[in-house]
């Protein structure tokens, strides 16, 4: 069934899927980070995540939904995330919501002239740009043997939203 929302073209909802849930960011224009956070789940992750994202779409009525392109060349996302990405795209279509899939390369190119950088460097840039919102959430740089801090998915989501905004402006 097709559901309709009054889309706000000024709003971008970005979702960064992770092994334990997802990080999200709602960006208004270029300067206002309206909402951000991380949601974790155990059990039937995909069904729960899909429901949560649908709730966010209904609440914020964004003009576009941005996700990582799990099927992009060189992507190392697992089958669960690939399947979930497809399910989210289908769900967004039922809301007549535009979806943009951005590869890791797209995101890197949006932040670095040579396209070379790390997730942590991007996180630091974003924490500098939004010191009140993201500053306290920036984890310390992880060491090679440590797992990724779950808060990094917030920065991944904000980076996606920003990359989408810059992508639209440049091209």
């Amino acid at each position: 069934m097709t559901k309709t929302i009054r889309q706000n073209n000024n709003l971008i909802l970005a979702i960064a899927l992770s092994s334990s849930g997802f990080g999200f960011a709602v960006l208004e224009g270029e300067r206002t980070l309206v909402d951000w956070g991380v949601k974790s789940v155990t059990g039937d992750k995909n069904a729960w995540i899909l429901k949560q994202i649908e709730k966010m779409i209904a609440h914020y009525q964004p003009g576009v939904l941005v996700l990582h392109d799990a099927a992009a060349k060189g992507s190392r996302r697992g089958p669960r995330i690939r399947k979930l990405t497809k399910e989210i795209v289908a769900m967004a279509a039922s809301w007549k919501l535009k979806v943009t899939l951005l590869s890791r390369e797209h995101v890197m190119q949006a932040f670095f002239i040579d396209g070379k950088g790390t997730k942590y460097t991007i996180a630091k840039v974003l924490a500098g740009r939004f010191p009140e919102e993201l500053g306290p959430r920036l984890p310390r740089k992880r060491r090679a043997w440590e797992g990724e801090d779950s808060r990094m998915s917030i920065f991944d989501a904000v980076a996606l939203a920003f990359a989408k905004r810059l992508w639209r402006k440049d091209r």
């Binding site: 706000n8 073209n9 909402d35």
Partner: protein
């Protein structure tokens, strides 16, 4: 025309300050965070005293905290002001009417054609 703003930015500002819903509820003088959650979910609009308390907590003007609602109210007022400007066409011309027309035109936010008095 729909507003490009969200009805309110209460959640954004609360999170920016790192406060919980219960803490904001306490500052507002309400019993629990449930009401705060309803405001943040756009399910309910706060009253004037609560809106002013929000301004005091977040140190931002009400029109910024409730930008979407403000846009809506401003449009409604502008539309009524336009009608009142047209009413001045039937008033006795003079300094007072001209002043009134000027004020209402400013509120209406658009140029309203000057009346053609004989």
């Amino acid at each position: 025309m729909a507003s490009s703003h969200l009805p309110n930015y209460l959640r954004t500002n609360r999170m920016r300050l790192g406060l919980s819903q219960d803490e904001v509820a306490y500052l507002l003088g309400t019993e629990s965070g449930t009401r705060v959650s309803r405001y943040e979910q756009f399910a309910r609009d706060p009253g004037l005293r609560t809106a002013l308390a929000y301004e005091a907590i977040f140190q931002r003007p009400i029109r910024e905290l409730f930008a979407g609602i403000y846009d809506e109210v401003e449009r409604e007022v502008a539309s009524r002001a336009k009608r009142l400007v047209l009413n001045t066409d039937h008033m006795r011309p003079g300094e007072r009417t001209a002043r009134k027309r000027e004020v209402l035109t400013k509120i209406a936010g658009t140029k309203v054609k000057k009346p053609q008095h004989p």
